[in-house]
């Protein structure tokens, strides 16, 4: 299994080079039964870019982001991550997921493991790295998300914001090339939202490629290189935050922004 994965790794299609978009969606369509939730989404994300996806609830934002690491399948179109076709039945989905980290709204930490163990588990089991090296990296990541001293706490003993930062550290421990954030502050108390956003902002400033689904418009305006407004499963409008937030062209975008800003 291990050797299979490593050959696949070396096997990133030759056609992809780091100058090309790291994530590339073309005419992505997804159905739940007969209900079409994504109606032809195309977008490109370049290495180091921070992309925010905004839109009303039920517009397909979360579905879209979960398609990028193959948690949700698509029925039509193409999703390429570093040249790997996600919509290919022969895809090595484990190899894809080692390169794409995701953080969820509900944190989903492993409740029977301490914060440190949560961060260490995947590198130990999946990457099969030596324990000492993994532990060192995990401790670094925990202090990076400003949770020194909480290494041995169980998720149940941490606040929502702290749990979410452990979840971010857990994803980062896999050394991903792309990070997905699925409404990561939506379940948090207002006072803990900021500590999570600061962590993400720091990541973004270090050059991590980030795709965020968010309701934090101020945050999107501040950190995003590009903002996509999605409604009813289609991209209504997109552009740099200064353009989209100040000078939206489409009436639907303007109505949405007037409601949330």
């Amino acid at each position: 299994m291990l050797s299979l994965i490593s050959t696949m790794e070396g096997n990133v299609p030759r056609s992809w080079t780091p100058e090309m978009p790291i994530v590339s969606l073309r005419d992505v369509r997804k159905f739940y039964g007969s209900l079409e939730v994504l109606k032809g989404i195309s977008l490109d994300v370049r290495k180091g870019e921070v992309i925010c996806i905004i839109g009303p609830s039920g517009s397909g934002k979360s579905t879209l982001i979960r398609c990028i690491n193959g948690l949700n399948g698509i029925q039509h179109g193409s999703i390429r991550v570093e040249g790997r076709e996600v919509n290919d039945p022969k895809l090595d989905v484990l190899a894809l997921r080692r390169k794409v980290g995701i953080v969820f709204q509900q944190y989903n930490l492993f409740p029977h493991k301490t914060a440190l163990e949560n961060v260490m588990l995947a590198p130990l089991l999946v990457l099969k790295e030596p324990r000492r090296q993994v532990e060192e990296r995990a401790r670094e990541l925990i202090s990076k998300v400003k949770l020194q001293g909480k290494e041995n706490s169980y998720p149940g003993e941490l606040s929502g914001g702290q749990q979410q930062r452990v979840a971010i550290a857990r994803s980062l421990a896999m050394c991903p090339d792309v990070m997905l954030f699925d409404e990561v502050t939506a379940a948090l108390d207002p006072e803990t939202v900021k500590e999570v956003l600061v962590t993400i902002k720091q990541l973004a400033s270090e050059g991590m490629t980030c795709i965020l689904v968010t309701h934090e418009m101020g945050f999107a305006r501040e950190v995003a290189d590009h903002v996509y407004f999605i409604d009813g499963g289609v991209i209504v409008e997109h552009g740099p935050p200064s353009e989209l937030f100040n000078d939206a062209k489409d009436p639907r975008t303007r109505r949405f922004l007037s409601q949330v800003l």
Partner: protein, 279 residues
Amino acid sequence: MTQVRTETGNARPAQYALFGVSWYHGAILLLGFVIAFAAVHLNSREADATNLSALDTLSLWLPFILKGFGLNLLMSFLAMAIATVLGVALGIAQVSQLGVVRVASKFVTHLFRNAPWLVILFTVMYLLPVEATLWGREKVIIPDWIKATFAFSLPVMGNISEIVRGAINSIPTGQWESAESLAFTRRQTMVHIILPQCIKRSIPPWMNWYALLTLATPMASILGVHEAVGNAQAAMEAGGGRPEFLLPFYLFLLCLFFAYIYPIALWTRKLEQKYAVSH
């Protein structure tokens, strides 16, 4: 009986120390019985051997009955061990991604869950051979109590399978999704994430089935296994089979099983409450 009631009364304030307290008191209860019967026995030594009182007869045969109870316990331990190993495997098979495995394990689970224990007992008795050839070429007779133990393990296996399946399904999907997103294989997710979280919530129902299993072991006496109830009946026969034997003998058996099972039931309830709070 009053002794047992005091025992729970004492134990109630000491919430989680209940297990230790109960066992201690259960042991005292048994010891009290043994001493009382022994005293009666000593006093009536000179009595006419053909005309012993019911209590004298009981105390005379006490070691024999307790030896039988030892077999009840041994059968319950072995049957529970077999049921746990098979039941956990069957429960995991019930959530397999392979349709064939899933359907087959569901069939086996429900077959044994929904059959009367007595029917399973008779079926196993007649299906298993009288002798088995072990490692060497020597033929060994399979004792009836081994067959009965295996028979009792089957319905419990079916129920443990359901406990495990239910526990796995009760783990939030977010746990699967985050493990999947970290590139865990299904097997790694099961072993490191899902099953460890199932243990805690499975223990109270598992203990409940242990209690039911132990209470079912006297059924083996029907097939001539020398456990407590069978031995007590044999003792009554040997003592002349007088009707006045029935009440003290069966009352004694009742106390014997009660003293063993009731603390387990109390402990189970405490664990249930504890886990209900912490989840």
